[in-house]
Symmetry: C2
Subunit: 526 residues, 2 copies
Amino acid sequence: MTAKVLINGAWRSSDATGTFQATNPNTNEKLPTEFPISSWADCDAALDAAFAAAREMRTLPAAVIAEFLESYADKIDAASDSLVEAAASESGLAKSPRLADVELPRTSNQIRLSAQSCRRGDWALATIDTAAGIRSCYEPLGPVCVFGPNNFPFAFGSVSGGDFAAAIAAGNPVIGKANSTVPETTRRFAQLALQAAQETGVPDAIVQLIYRTGHADGERLVSDPRVGATGYTGSRSAGLKLKAAADAAGKPIYLELSSVNPVVILPGALKSRGAEIVDEFMTSALMGTGQFCTNPGVVIAIKGQATDDFIKAVQDRFQSSPAGTLLSPAVASSLNQSVKTLCDLGAELLAGGGEVEADRCAMANTLLKATGKQFISDPEGFQTEAFGNASLLVVADDLAELREVIKTLEGNLTGCVYSDPGGSDDDAYEQVAFELIPKVGRVLNDKMPTGVAVSAAMNHGGPYPATGHPGFTAVGVPACLLRFGKLTSYDNVRPARLPKLLADKNPTGETPRQIDGAWTTDDVKG
Amino acid sequence: MTAKVLINGAWRSSDATGTFQATNPNTNEKLPTEFPISSWADCDAALDAAFAAAREMRTLPAAVIAEFLESYADKIDAASDSLVEAAASESGLAKSPRLADVELPRTSNQIRLSAQSCRRGDWALATIDTAAGIRSCYEPLGPVCVFGPNNFPFAFGSVSGGDFAAAIAAGNPVIGKANSTVPETTRRFAQLALQAAQETGVPDAIVQLIYRTGHADGERLVSDPRVGATGYTGSRSAGLKLKAAADAAGKPIYLELSSVNPVVILPGALKSRGAEIVDEFMTSALMGTGQFCTNPGVVIAIKGQATDDFIKAVQDRFQSSPAGTLLSPAVASSLNQSVKTLCDLGAELLAGGGEVEADRCAMANTLLKATGKQFISDPEGFQTEAFGNASLLVVADDLAELREVIKTLEGNLTGCVYSDPGGSDDDAYEQVAFELIPKVGRVLNDKMPTGVAVSAAMNHGGPYPATGHPGFTAVGVPACLLRFGKLTSYDNVRPARLPKLLADKNPTGETPRQIDGAWTTDDVKG
C-alpha cells in the first residue's frame, strides 16, 4: 500500500511515476511504507489548489491565519510521541534529548511566534506618508513551495519548519515537498495541519504535501506561473538547479545551501582557556553527528604549542568518542566522498576516515588537518563540505597567512572568532573580523556556531553560496517572513479600501508602523 | 578626441574596443564627442578600485559618506545650467519645465534624503535582542554596478539617480555604466561626484564611470566576484541577459524593466467626470513624449456611450497635440515596431502610427484600440510595450470580461482604477482591485500613474517582469537602500566590537532600532 498525497484538502492516491521507501539509518533497513514519486499531474493539481487558496487567504483576517498556526502548534505538542517515533526511525536522531526535548518544542514555538507576527502585522513594515497620501506594506505573494532538508525533520520540515511558518504567517499557502529521508514524519505533520485548517476555517489547501518528484518536475514546480516563491534547504547541487529554473522564470527562491562555518581560534584564546575550547568544539562538531547547517567544519588557528595541544586533545576526543548515526545512506556516502576529496588534496587524516559498522549509517569521527598554504593553494577544494562528523583543522604559519585563508573563503552562514578575554588578541581580532564579516551571515565571539536561537535579531543566512541572497534570513521572526512578501504601495487609495494594516486606526493597537518618518503604534492623527 | 573614463579617481584614456557618439534627437545629428566602448581591462580596473574602496568605506563613519552625498547634491544644484544643457542636447527633453525645474531638483533632493538616511542609519533595520545577546542590521554588501536608463538622465542616471544614491548611502561604491544616449551628461555628473569625493575625504573610487561595454563584458561585470550587486533600469531584453549572468553567479541584481501600467476606468467615473479624466490621461500619456516607466500604456474600460465619448475625445486630442521628441533613434524605431506589432495583432489605429518629421526623432501621437476579446486571445502580444507616445485602449464587453483582461496581465509597476466618487462603482472596484493588486507594485485610485513621489511609502517596483523581484523598490528612502545591504547578525560579540548602529547607545539619538520587540530611539537600557 502506497501512502497518499495531500492535495486540495484530501488525502488521495498519487498520480505516481514510481515509489520509494525511507531507510532506518540505525539498521540500514528499508522502512515498510511505500511513498509515491509524484508526476506532474500531482504538482499541477496542487498548484491549482494553492492558487485558489492564496486568493481566498487574501480576504481572511490575519487573526484567523494566526489561529490556524496556533492550533497546529498545539496539535504538534500533543502528538509529540508519534512525531518523535516517526522521525527517530527515519532520521536516526535521538528521541531524547534531541527530537522530543529540543527540536519539537522549538518547532511549535517557531510556529507560535510566526502566528504572533501574523496577527500583529509587525513583519510587514507598514509605512504611511500622510502628506503624500501614499501608504505601503508587504503583502502575501502567492503559493510558496517548501523543500525541507534531511537534518531537521521538525524545525525545518517542509510542512512544519521555519519556511513553512513564515510563508503561512505572511498569508500564503504552502506546497510542501517532503525530504525523501523523512516522508512518514512529514506525512504526520501534514495530517495535523489539515486538521487545524479544518477546525479554524482557513482553506484546506493552505497546506499540501507531495513526497518526491522527478528533477524536471521539481524545476517546473518552482518556476510555475501560479507559484509566488520557493524556500529550499538542502544540498548545493540540487538547490542550484532549482535556483536556475526559478531565476529564469523571475520567481523568488530562497535557498539555504552548504556552509563550512569557519571558526578562528586566536592564540590568546587557546592560551587562556584552551581546554574549555576543546570541550566547546567537541560538543559543537559532533552534535547531531555533525549534521547541523552551522556545524564547525573548518577551524583555523596559528601554529604554535597551544595549537598543537589543542589539536592533540581534539584528536584524542574524536578517536575516543562514539560515532553517531548519520541521517541516511546518501549522507554516509557523501561524507565518505568528501573526506576522500580532502585527503586526495593532501589533508592529513588525524582521526577516523572510514566506516565503523556495517549495520547502520555511520562513519568514524573524522579529523583532518591542512596547512594554511595548502588551503590557499586550492581554497575551493579545501572548502568541500563534509556534511557529518568530520572537521578540518587549518594551521596557518602566522596571522598574515590566517588572513589570507579567510580571504579565500566562500560565503558562509556563520563565522566564529575566539580571542583572549584579556585583550592580547584584540589587534588580531580586528584584522580577522574585517575579512570574515563580509563572508558570513552571523559573526560570533567566543562561542561555537551550532545553536540557532529563534530571535528577532538572528540571521540564519549569509552570502552566496551559503544562501541564494545576502539580505534574508531563514530564522528569526518577524524578519524571516519578509521573504514571502510583496511590497505594495497604495497611492491616493480611498480610506475604506485600504488594507487594515494601512488604515488610520492601528489594526491591533500594537502594530508598529512608520508614520511620517517615526515608528509608532499610534493611530494616524486626524 | 575621445572622452576619458573615470577609474580609481582619475580621468584616463579608456582601453577601448571602439567609440560611439550620441545623437541629438531634436536634429538627428550626431553630437561631436566620441566616447569609448570599454574593453574588459577598463571593467577589471574599475572593479579592483571599487573593491578597495568598498573595504575602505566599511570603516568610514556614516556621517562622512552622508557629507559626500550632500556636497555632491550642492554641486549638482550649482551646475544645473551645464547639466541641463548637456541633457537637453542628448535626450531632447525640454530644459524647462522638465529638466531644470523638475528632474534636477528631484535628483539633488533624492541624494539629500539618501544622505539623511545614511547618517541616521534608519534603513538598516537595527534589531537588538538583549536576552539572547544577538544584534543584527543591514550593512554594505560591496561595489554596486548601476546601469542607468535613457529616459531620466538625472533622476535615474547611473552616477546621479536613485540607485546610485541608495547604493552609496548603504555604504557601497558605485561603478556607473552610462546610458549610451546620455554619455556627456553622465560624464558631467561624474566630474562633480569626484570633486565632492575629494573634498569630503571618501575614497576617490566611490564613483567610477564607463560609458559602454560589449554585451559579454557587461554580463561578466555584473557576475564578477568583486561585485556586491547591480541596479539596472532599461529594456527588458538587455536586462534579462544581465539577470541571467548575475543569477548564475549568485549576485543580486535589481532590475526595473518594462511596464504597460494598466489604467482601469469604471463606468461611473466616466459618467461623473469624463472630461477631467480625458485631461488627466492626456497629460499622463504624453508627458515626456510618453517615455515614463509609469506611462499609462493600456487603458481598460467597459463599452458604452461614456466610453465611446472618452475614446473620441482622446482621439481628437492625440491627433491635435504636437508630437514630442523621442529620446533617440533607437526609441523611435522600437516604438514604430511596437505599434506595427499591435496593428498586426488586429488593434485598430485611431490616431498616429507613423513618423512625423524627418529631421528629429519623433512619431505622431499614436492611439490604438482593441476589444477585450482580442486582448484575451493574445495577452502577451497586446502587452507589447510601446515605449513613447502611444497608448492602447481596451474595450471590454462587460465587467466580467474586464476582469478577465486584468487576469491576463503580467507584472507591472502600477495599476490605476478610476471609480465613481459617488459610490456607484464600488462593487466593481472590489472585483477589479482584487485581480489587479497582485499584479502591480503600486495601486492608485482616481489618479494617473506618472509622477513617482519620493516618499518613504513609495513603491517603484512590482512583480516580474516589471522588475526582477516583488519585494523591493527603486524609489522611496529609506526602503530603496535595503537592496544594497547584507544582513549581518552579531552573536555574543563583545560590546566594543559592535558596529555603532548596534551599540547600547543610540548612535545619533534619533536612529530607530527594534529593541526587544519595540521600535525606539532610546539607548539600550543597562
